[in-house]
Symmetry: C2
Subunit: 282 residues, 2 copies
Amino acid sequence: MTSLKSSFNLNSKQGDIKIEVDLFMCLTFIGIGLTGMGLTIEGLKEAQNADFIFMDSYTSILPNGALNTLSSLIGKNIQPLKRADLEGRGLVKIIELAKRSKVALLVAGDPFIATTHISLKIEAAKAGIPVKYIPSASIQTVISGLTGLSNYKFGKSATIVFPDKGPNNAAYEAVRDNKSRGLHTLLYLDLEVEISRAMTINEGIKILLELESKRGEGVINSDMLVIGIARACWKDSIIKASKLSKILHYDFGPPPHVLIIPGSLHFIELEALRLFADMEDY
Amino acid sequence: MTSLKSSFNLNSKQGDIKIEVDLFMCLTFIGIGLTGMGLTIEGLKEAQNADFIFMDSYTSILPNGALNTLSSLIGKNIQPLKRADLEGRGLVKIIELAKRSKVALLVAGDPFIATTHISLKIEAAKAGIPVKYIPSASIQTVISGLTGLSNYKFGKSATIVFPDKGPNNAAYEAVRDNKSRGLHTLLYLDLEVEISRAMTINEGIKILLELESKRGEGVINSDMLVIGIARACWKDSIIKASKLSKILHYDFGPPPHVLIIPGSLHFIELEALRLFADMEDY
């Protein structure tokens, strides 16, 4: 293939370090938000400009029909990728393709909130491929918008994993350490799309209760306020704040779910929870 | 005015609680990301559907021309609002307008990452106005995408405020407490658009150094690694990781700026910083 060369600066402050790249060479990570309709104007342009458009179909769940809607919006075919397509040999293939064409990878939420895609970004950069990043809304951002909990008051987040994969001490300790500083904790719930299992809010709480009865550090109890969010930003989303014992049995419907354990609450946060998270008197 | 009534459910799980609303009544908060081109497909539709489109022009800085580009994209006039237009009497006026028309408010980044707009959301909900929220990328999200620092390892964030507005103990303590847990800290730098002042990374570091010499808790020192990000996601963005003494004198150009104080670093995070944040050997 004849290659048209172009040059770009590696970090704009170092005017002298120019890198020659093939004009057809590019890997663009494009966030599509929580519903697919979080594709941005910038992302749409980049996708339309790409030779190949892939979509990560294994790290998250999108509403039915999102792929088709996106495909008609962009006006091009979108190829869903499995985990194996983006790891090991799969990753090498994507890199090789991006060396001679413009490749776009659509990712639900923001492309780099989960750590999954950073390896691909690093390998592409090492191979001299220009990497672009088009951010979008992530669950981490929208929890403040949906609940009214102040973004400044969230501490470290963590994931509750399926118990057959290992203990959940990190999640328990994140809640414990955040609570001791009055901070809120976002708990992601394990999701394995390829084997069709997704942890529910109810299961997540059960795991936390079991950890509490094992460790006994007084972090989790039945009366504490927790907030469950199902299908954030989808048309049928549910946001429900109540005491843990009630949320444990609440039916949130299908995944994806996340769980928030609030720390100390400002009266404006309490007012927002009453209005936007169906919280009865607490 | 003749009003067409429509009803909607307050929280989808409570099918019986229906609220009657005027069909023309609506307040939609729309995130436009860090450049304005982070307006999403969903946000574009909502904006085009609105009777009045306002833009918060006082909590953040956008690239030149963003307002005009957005206005032609949406095909409607956008009215920039000052702080006074969204607080006190100004807020009442917006609420009154939303009671009889569809009002959209464009906000840089995500609408609810800063706490500024939650009061308006609460007042609208109390007035029975249906409130919609269209999220977009926020600085909190993109810092992981830009630097490769793991989102899971960020602790509480804080703002360094101009010293004439009060002491910065909260920022110092956020860094101290996060560091003691090995966590990264995102420090927002104060921005007062209406009086044209914006804190630079260099000023922010100077304030932290002064606090350290006053408090002496060993949190901040000249040799520690820090990361400055200027104009995140803009075409001329700068991302630079180096020791504090070097960043203190580094010219990042115009605002907006943010500062990251990393905690303990995984080798993949170090590799990402070398590739994407121009970090020399550290």
